[in-house]
Symmetry: C2
């Protein structure tokens, strides 16, 4: 089971609670998590009160993600579809700037090349992929040609409009629920796009991980 991170903190990396709860539910389900992050600088470093950028600072996505995974993480370039039975992308607005450039370019954005290749090869092998919070935009950009069915919470505003322009069919979804694209083997949940706290977010992430593990075992 691959989990892709891009730092430790929602504004400039992966959302810590979403990443931690993903790993918790994988462990509860007896799945072995293999975590990956790009061995490259974050797009920016942000303070986490308001999210302002801190010019002149630099942090590495792999090095910062290791704080969440207790050091158990590898460079994204070493991730191989053949060794993974599924893939999960936790969210955080940093995902829309580190793992793709959706935040700046919307439906014209591109996915980090190694991640785009990994996602497309997982999809071609009919292996399940889960995406949490804003991370479905990465799937919209990488798999738009396959008309992926995804959620970003509200379906007719904000990033959902750009994801639809990239080719995705956007579905509305509550914080405690998931959207399943059976044809493309994708699962998504809004998490902190809608969630008010960790208990709400946990319910959707637990359902997403259970659905991914069910699909792996088919």
């Amino acid at each position: 089971m691959g989990v892709v991170l891009c730092g430790a903190g929602r504004f400039d990396g992966s959302e810590i609670t979403e990443a931690t709860l993903t790993l918790l539910h994988l462990d509860k389900g007896k799945a072995e998590a293999h975590c990956f992050a790009p061995d490259a600088p974050q797009f920016e470093v942000c303070e986490h009160f308001e999210g302002a950028g801190l010019p002149g600072q630099q942090r590495n996505m792999l090095v910062e993600s290791a704080r969440i995974t207790r050091g158990d993480i590898q460079p994204l370039a070493s991730a191989d579809q053949a060794n993974l039975d599924a893939l999960i992308l936790p969210g955080g607005s940093g995902v829309a700037r580190n793992l793709c450039d959706f935040a700046g370019k919307g439906s014209k954005g591109k996915v980090h090349p190694a991640l785009a290749q990994l996602i497309r090869s997982m999809h071609a092998a009919h292996k399940p992929i889960g995406a949490i919070c804003i991370a479905p935009v990465v799937l919209a950009l990488a798999l738009g040609a396959h008309r992926p069915r995804l959620t970003l919470g509200p379906s007719t505003e904000g990033p959902a409009l750009d994801a639809a322009m990239a080719g995705a069919e956007m579905e509305p979804c509550e914080v405690d629920a998931i959207i399943v694209d059976d044809r493309n083997n994708l699962v998504s949940t809004p998490a902190y796009i809608l969630g008010e706290g960790p208990a709400e977010v946990n319910t959707g992430i637990q359902k997403l991980v259970k659905e991914i593990l069910k699909r792996v075992q088919r």
Copy 2:
């Protein structure tokens, strides 16, 4: 409910999984978490593969802890016993160097002054205090004169020997269990001193939070 953090990462701050699961179970229990961290530099910045210190770097405990709490955190100096019904200290080896100097001085160590005052005033008011992983050493140093009954997992080796020299009665405890000191109103669990992954650690932390909330409601 007060939660005291000191950074985002086990080697130089708070253990991220322990802190996140503490906040999850407080939210599940409908308790309102008030997070605090010292507004001061970490003792050091460490990489999180092996834990080596990175000379020349500096990070602030409050600023880094805000990554875990999504910005919802206040300076430790503003924590007031009168406004808190209980206190929980998540672990991480950074706690033994940021919130006290136990890592360097053992039983002769001192607790961060604002935290020592907060702990002693909570204890004097008979309010419950929980400590996870290595954090019971903070209670051993602050409350040693009251012979606190605590766990650090194994009771006859490593930090437990120093905590006992500071006045604590150290009890052995499995990763999925808690030690309750009814007289001093303290609860502790070994978490990542013994845990192999988040599911194991979650079991003990869930029990600790439930026991603290039960004591608040008495």
